[in-house]
Symmetry: C2
Subunit: 336 residues, 2 copies
Amino acid sequence: MNTVNLKQLAKELNLSVSTVSRALRDSWEISTPTKQRVFDLAKKMNFQPNPYASSLRKHRSRTIAVVIPEVANNFFALAIKGIETIAREKGYHVLIYLTNEDGSEEMSVAANLQSGRVDGVILSLSGETKDMRHLVELQQRNIPLVFFDRVCDSIDAPKVMTNDYESGFVATEHLIKAGCQRIAHLTISMSLSISHKRMKGYTDGLLRYDKPYEDNMIVHCEGSDEENYKKIRDLLASGQRPDGIFASVEKLAVQVYHACRELGLEIPGDVKIIGFSNLVTASLLSPALTTIAQPAYEMGKEAATILFRRLEKKYILTPDDRVILPARLEVRNSTL
Amino acid sequence: MNTVNLKQLAKELNLSVSTVSRALRDSWEISTPTKQRVFDLAKKMNFQPNPYASSLRKHRSRTIAVVIPEVANNFFALAIKGIETIAREKGYHVLIYLTNEDGSEEMSVAANLQSGRVDGVILSLSGETKDMRHLVELQQRNIPLVFFDRVCDSIDAPKVMTNDYESGFVATEHLIKAGCQRIAHLTISMSLSISHKRMKGYTDGLLRYDKPYEDNMIVHCEGSDEENYKKIRDLLASGQRPDGIFASVEKLAVQVYHACRELGLEIPGDVKIIGFSNLVTASLLSPALTTIAQPAYEMGKEAATILFRRLEKKYILTPDDRVILPARLEVRNSTL
DNA sequence: AAAAGCTACTACAACGTTTTCGTAGAAAAT
DNA sequence: ATTTTCTACGAAAACGTTGTAGTAGCTTTT
């Protein structure tokens, strides 16, 4: 509990509270010698202005919220790092909220943020989010919102994303060129636009190369890890086994490896695998995993930069800036 | 910017601000019908109390800070998840600060936290931290501090850690029993007590099994990733090549894999490897990595639980509770 | 010499809550 | 019938800061 405040400094210096406040903010209204006296004492007493008093008065908290589905995942961890880096530079504080892919948790977080606790929000949708009212309400309260990765197309807000459609296409194309005849796609919640886009890239890829689209080659992995694993294993154990798999997220690619191991399938001999992933160990897996790697750190930095531009009203930009940072294909042995 | 406040509710209901405030907190001083009227209107107008006004008045922010060296690392990411889970349950908010292993960043964060912005702090030391004054000052301001993993022995505060000494011993013992004659230890900053303990476990392990301790088998990896990699490669390329390596942190184990690949060394044939790690892909590496896995999520939860116990003054415990959550050895092919 | 302007400060209200103290009116006790 | 107690509410201060509106004392302008 902090206890040294402006009043104490003022009394000690025989000045008014307002003078001390202004001196500390280096106002031109205060004479240099007075400023010096104030600075010295503030330093000596280790004065730290109460941020809550300041926020209350100024209607600005210099705090932002980052709302993400999970953190134990290289993509989001790197994004946080990017956001935190920019926030630090700008003197902002970062509150973190994990929704655990749960739409109702996301709603309650958003509702809470309407209190004015933060000046702005950077958000990546949970897989379960269907209803966007909570986000619209945030905007109605004039709390700037920036999406990253899992964006919401129906809300008019800046978005930082990767080229999901192209990446989906490229991934599929890559598998086809590697000789795959029957390619499966493992996707997460189809309420996410990234899922749609990646899937569209996949289907267009099949189309472009005259490969048939088969319904049962689409595996919706929206359940628990165990349920997803079971679905993947069933796919691989079925008579209709695919010879190529495109995983839309990292954890699904990892599960394919486990399933192949359990079933005694060889990668890339029996099945080739490509997945969206930021695994640092991709190249060390057995075999090394071909990935679509998103520029997670840069996306975090970009999202934060856009948000701060809004907060500092420095933008005469379009109301709906949309930044696309391309993912890159990293070919490794799993699709040899 | 939030705009509906107590005053507006009060006017609308023909009540005083104090009555509305009390009604919302379900005070016994307010009649049931009045409470109901207040609740209804608050809900209808989507009233969210201003947290800054509240914090200012109550001298409590219901916010904690988590200060960690990095986040793009499974251990810390899981710890954050644990902390956030408990914080959510308790209705607390979580500010996150990354020190990037930089002692001066840690200092400036700690100095800033003296403002009273948070009710408590959960911290894992940066590798560069030598001077602990900034943390002592935090405590002097009555801001409870809980350490986890990279604790500071010289400060009297609760600590949540793993059995680093035993784990170091077990790791070394495991390598010896696997047939290693010359075991190297890759360590990070020796100003961290975890490094000391893990190292002591290592040296005691050597001693116990009559293996010689050699200075040049200790590699201090405190520099950039590139520098560390070079040191590791040099070690493996030297005439004095070890046949076992104990990496004290995850990223160093990963670098050993890369170095072995570059040098054409076979794991575990030429070199066996064990490392502290929470990699989800440990079992999928080529070969699978034997790990000492820390219960990261549980450690985060435990640290948060202890902190909240302090914040809610519910503890009649020892002033210096120290919780040790044991790591577990997961034997895989890299030490076959 | 009076008016205007400037410099360096101060007083005070305001931000939105919570809390302490107080009180009107009804019910209960004497 | 008077006093006491209780119930349900209100007025106002306080938290620590910042912004607006002064103002005393000096210098400059007319």
